[in-house]
């Protein structure tokens, strides 16, 4: 009880707000790190995921590789890459990108994969090329799942950048690493609260985006059961979700 009070007082203390190691600066750094991580991860994972979903090839490899990436212990990867790259943003950035790839990849290929076969056949029947099918049909229809993947990656990345402050970096993790050896628990708790708050806000933003990007046509005729009847394999997410 007391600790919580002290933590919130710590956050509200104007002395902790400004300056190069204040809350605003750390928050800004954390958001910046998260953004570049997501941009890099999207640039890598989205094309691969779309290709897999569109062609139906390489799915097994993608599942296995992204499963492997998921199991890497981030703290260990940060330390190890730090020894290769030296101190700086490179090592933790690489570790965080590795962490963000699997959900984005999974969102992309399962999103495209889940597009109704009939819809694609219809698109081809009216004379669309493969690229047009991907760009005008599959991508818009898959967008909610793709954004969902990025959303999930974003949460993990925000949470895990905290850990990377084991190396000399900014970000909200600084509050935890700096306070722990001094047993300054209010500051540690304050740091944790800020990370949680940032994660919640980011998640809220993505939830909104996810709603906005659903194509109008899909919204108009949305009957989710229709998908279940198709013979095509579905994304693990949508298949699992319906079960009790």
């Amino acid at each position: 009880m007391n600790q919580w009070g002290a933590a919130f007082l710590w956050i509200l203390d104007p002395a902790h707000l400004g300056g190069p190691s204040g809350i605003l600066a750390r928050l800004g750094e954390h958001v910046w790190y998260t953004l570049i991580t997501l941009v890099i991860a999207v640039l890598i994972a989205l094309p691969i995921g779309l290709a897999i979903g569109h062609t139906g090839k390489g799915r097994t490899v993608a599942v296995q590789v992204s499963g492997g990436l998921r199991s890497l212990p981030t703290l260990g990867v940060v330390t190890l890459l730090g020894l290769w790259f030296g101190i700086g943003l490179g090592a933790p950035l690489a570790a965080m990108v590795a962490l963000a790839l699997p959900p984005i990849l999974a969102g992309a290929y399962s999103g495209v994969d889940a597009v109704e076969r009939n819809t694609i056949d219809a698109a081809r029947a009216v004379g669309m090329t493969g690229w047009q099918v991907l760009g005008k049909v599959e991508l818009p229809l898959a967008l909610p799942l793709i954004i969902g993947g990025i959303r999930s990656a974003c949460l993990q990345v925000i949470a895990t950048w905290t850990v990377a402050a084991i190396l000399p970096l900014g970000g909200l993790g600084r509050f935890l690493y700096d306070a722990l050896p001094l047993r300054d628990y209010p500051q540690m708790l304050a740091g944790s609260i800020l990370v949680i708050a940032l994660a919640l806000v980011a998640d809220g933003v993505f939830a909104l985006v996810q709603k906005v990007v659903v194509p109008r046509g899909v919204l108009a005729g949305r009957v989710s059961e229709v998908r279940v009847k198709t013979a095509r394999p579905h994304a693990a997410v949508s298949a699992e979700a319906g079960r009790p």
Binding site: I87, G88, I166, P168, Y177, D178, P181, L182
Partner: protein
């Protein structure tokens, strides 16, 4: 239905109780054992007689270097006809000092500064001799430290050889003449600790900034110093990386960093003339460099056992004929 459910939960509870009972009995038996330990009481002669009279039991903290020193003490005493056994890897200071107090060990290798501050929180002594002198007052009754060794395991400021030559820096006092801005790679608490950034300023008049690396002078700190991202790095004096990278450990003429000489902390009852003489001979021969070499053997590719490393050290020093 309800009833049956309750019965099941009752039987689970009962089983839990029985398990707890068994555990409790076991714990009692164990604690009975330990209180019946002949080595545990103040006068070892009155015990059940197991454990030969006057045998010295050497304990150690739970890290390799301390275990190696404990092995050296043990083997040196054994080689000189003193009955000795070893209980390595007891834990942190709280744990092994408690073991010393309750008599389950008689002797443990310690580090003078930390030992003094454990018993005297307000101690301000920082040079080797002051700390050693302070220890004799601070130690609890019935215990004493034998001679302190030159070997020390403490925080230290290190620079690369190139930096040392470029600015002719061999001591913290020389840093004032360095023209480039100074960054120190160390744990985050270094920003506040008296031996850290504030002490550097107040004792040596040197302004430096901290690059916080939370690995206690480990590989990332070493890498930062090698890469030139920091000019100074806080590394424990017995870390092999200092030698392996030819780092220069800066002298500390004003004793900014509290001394941590290796000292044998012993139960006075076991500190016979023979034991004292043997241990002090070992103490006189042990150096910080020896500790580094032994840590290399322990942590490197060889991964030799503490017992083997101690044996090799004793053989190389040839202290006892």
């Amino acid at each position: 239905m309800m009833k049956r459910k309750r019965e099941t939960s009752m039987s689970i509870k009962k089983r839990g109780l029985i398990a707890a009972g068994i555990l409790a009995v076991g714990a009692l038996a164990l604690s009975a054992c330990s209180s019946g330990n002949p080595l545990d009481s103040n006068d070892s002669g009155s015990g059940s007689g197991s454990g030969s009279n006057g045998a010295v039991i050497v304990g150690s903290a739970a890290f390799p270097e301390n275990e190696i020193i404990a092995q050296i003490y043990t083997q040196a005493l054994q080689a000189n006809g003193v009955k000795t056994s070893i209980k390595p890897n007891i834990g942190q200071r709280d744990a092994y000092l408690a073991a010393l107090k309750d008599g389950s060990i008689d002797l443990v290798p310690e580090y003078s500064g930390n030992l003094l501050q454990y018993y005297d929180k307000d101690a301000t002594a920082s040079s080797s001799d002051d700390v050693y002198a302070g220890l004799s007052d601070a130690l609890p009754k019935g215990f004493e430290v034998l001679d302190q060794s030159k070997a020390e395991d403490k925080d230290s400021y290190n620079v690369t050889q190139a930096f040392s030559q470029k600015y002719n820096v061999k001591s913290l006092a020389d840093l004032k003449t360095v023209s480039e801005p100074l960054k120190v790679g160390a744990n985050p608490e270094f920003a506040q600790r008296p031996y850290g950034i504030p002490g550097l300023k107040s004792v040596y008049g040197v302004t430096a900034t901290l690059l916080p690396i939370s690995d206690s002078g480990g590989p990332n700190t070493v890498k930062a110093l090698v890469d030139g991202q920091v000019q100074l790095a806080d590394i424990y004096t017995t870390t092999p990386a200092i030698k392996q990278n030819n780092f220069v450990t800066l002298a500390d003429p004003e004793h900014l960093i509290v001394a941590q000489n290796v000292v044998p902390l012993i139960n006075k009852k076991k500190a016979s003339e023979r034991v004292t003489q043997v241990l002090n001979t070992v103490q006189a021969a042990l150096t910080t460099n020896d500790l580094i070499e032994m840590n290399i053997k322990s942590s490197g590719d060889a991964k030799e056992s503490a017992e083997q490393i101690a044996k090799e050290w004793l053989a190389s020093k040839n202290l006892f004929d």
